[in-house]
């Protein structure tokens, strides 16, 4: 099996940490992974993207032209990548910030998750990336939910380990909301 996702937002939303966390979880499951951060003249407030490919066999290309799954955390990323999602693919949007009404894609599944609102309700807007990755894993089963929580000790520096319970909660809430939106 091979799963691929492009996660995109603006610098500071924790896009790269989300990709790292997902990768660590896949590594722990014994899978092959490539994590490729967009690398350029990026800065805080500018765009931040990363590509994660998880495979049982060879990963192949770490670069995607038309991702099967796109997670967008801000409007600019939707405008940049929305048209590139593979037909039949999945788009998960942070509906707190992203408006998809002008996106003309009846050929893909769009799941809106109010990621900013969920993170704020849980006590810290900075957990928006955890909500996003929770939603992604719930909808795709790219890795097991337990692997994701288990990988937090590796993805976070030790000084932030005290925040792990809160992050687990954010991952779980993101997952729950995404599942309920899918069923709706």
């Amino acid at each position: 099996m091979r799963t691929e996702v492009l996660i995109a937002g603006f610098g500071g939303q924790g896009v790269l940490l989300a990709g790292n966390l997902l990768s660590y979880a896949a590594i722990d499951e014994g899978k092959n992974v490539s994590y490729f951060p967009a690398y350029g003249v990026e800065k805080r407030g500018g765009s931040a993207t990363c590509t994660v490919v998880i495979a049982d066999g060879a990963v192949g290309s770490p670069v995607l032209g038309h991702p099967a799954v796109l997670v967008v955390l801000n409007q600019a990323s939707l405008e940049r990548f929305g048209a590139k999602v593979r037909p039949g693919g999945l788009l998960i949007v942070n509906s707190s910030l992203v408006d998809t009404t002008e996106l003309n894609r009846s050929d893909i599944t769009i799941i809106p998750v109010p990621m900013n609102d969920i993170a704020s309700d849980l006590g810290d807007l900075r957990m928006v990336n955890m909500v996003a990755v929770g939603a992604y894993v719930a909808l795709t089963e790219a890795v097991k939910m337990e692997s994701l929580s288990g990988a937090l000790t590796q993805a976070l520096p030790e000084r932030n380990h005290k925040f792990i319970p809160a992050n687990v909660k954010a991952i779980e809430t993101g997952a729950q909301v995404a599942k309920s939106k899918k069923e709706a």
Binding site: I27, Y35, P37, L64, H66
Partner: protein, 356 residues
């Protein structure tokens, strides 16, 4: 099996250097390779090694020359314009037959260029980037694991042939993270360093130099170097083939673009096209025989590079009249990495031509 780590390509190269016994690093920071000095500046002091941030790239390469002359394993790394500055020193090392490892996580040029993934330094790397008509082995990793494994291999080749060795990558290979199994390789049997200058203390004088003024001395030296390159061509070619047995079109590329091509070839196979991938791992010596053989069977070769056409020249020289060689290039620039789908489109076009 060792634990699988999750690390950046650049870190993997630095870890491979440490595993290979390199305890001396000299460099000057430049994106996108600065993770290498960052890692070594932290780790080498713990191992009683030396990390020196030199005053310039020229300083760093000459420190490498000096350390190597003393018989220790040492390394430097940089990116394209920095590697250009090092070329004089590399030529001196090739002339004095000094081992050493140089990593180029290249930028996109010419001039100041940009920091995007690029393969524009192929010619500079494999054709003797400095003066005087020498070659150095050039290794092109395409994964984080290979950044580790080939860095260790580079140190062995350097000692075995008394030559500088270059590892050539780009920001895709340097900046991406993948699983790494830090396996200890079985050490190759290597010659002693009886030439190294370690202090005379009553022993016979040893001289390390690249100046040969005696009658016929320099000519003999050049022929000896030439003979060494012929041995490398015989013994040190590495390449990887994917699905080449029944292929009617062979796609070839090195490093990062070979990863993208791998997925494109898999997609083409799913559509029923008999397409394969041939990946040179050593760029010098170029795997001439292996590619000529694969190309001869298929009849057609498509070379893909992140430049306007460099390795394609070596492919044409190797293949000769045995196959038709065509080229698809994507010179460097932001957003100009080809996607697997784009390469698939190129493959389709060339494959259709074959069918006619």
């Amino acid at each position: 099996m060792s634990k699988r780590l999750f690390v950046k390509g650049n870190e993997a190269a630095a870890m491979g250097a440490v595993e290979a016994g390199c305890r001396y690093y000299f460099g000057y920071p430049i994106t996108p390779q600065s993770d290498i000095p960052e890692y070594l500046s932290r780790e080498l002091p713990k191992l009683n090694g030396e990390f020196i941030q030199a005053e310039s790239e020229i300083g760093a390469i000459n420190m490498l020359l000096g350390a190597s002359a003393c018989g220790v394993r040492a390394m430097t790394s940089s990116s394209s314009p920095g590697i250009s500055l090092k070329q004089e020193g590399i030529s001196y090392m090739a002339g004095a037959e000094l081992p050493g490892v140089i990593i180029n996580i290249s930028r996109s040029g010419p001039g100041l260029g940009g920091i995007d993934a690029s393969q524009s330094d192929y010619f500079q790397s494999v054709k003797g980037g400095g003066h005087g008509g020498y070659h150095i082995p050039v290794l092109a990793p395409n994964s984080v694991q290979e950044m580790y494994d080939l860095t260790m291999h580079a140190f062995d080749l350097a000692d075995l042939y008394r030559t500088p060795v270059m590892l050539l990558g780009d920001s895709v290979i340097g900046q991406m993270k993948e699983a790494l199994i830090p396996n200890a390789r079985p050490a190759r049997e290597l010659p002693g360093k009886e030439w190294a200058v370690r202090g005379k203390s009553g022993a016979e004088q040893r001289v390390v130099k690249s100046l040969f003024l005696g009658d016929g001395e320099l000519e003999a030296h050049n022929w000896r170097l030439h003979a060494k390159y012929q041995v490398m061509k015989e013994k040190e070619c590495i390449s990887e083939e994917y699905e080449t047995a029944d292929a009617r079109l062979i796609v070839t590329g090195f490093g990062s673009v070979a990863r993208i091509a791998h997925t494109a070839v898999t997609m083409a196979r799913e559509e029923g096209m008999k397409v394969s991938l041939f990946r040179p791992v050593t760029l010098f010596p170029f795997p001439e025989k292996a590619i000529a053989e694969a190309a001869g069977r298929a009849g057609k070769v498509l070379v893909v590079e992140l430049n306007t056409g460099q390795m394609v020249e070596d492919v044409r020289l190797s293949v000769g009249a045995a196959a038709q060689v065509s080229f698809y290039g994507r010179p460097p620039g932001a957003g100009s990495l080809p996607s697997p789908e784009e390469l698939l489109e190129v493959i389709r076009k060339h494959y259709d031509d074959t069918a006619r």
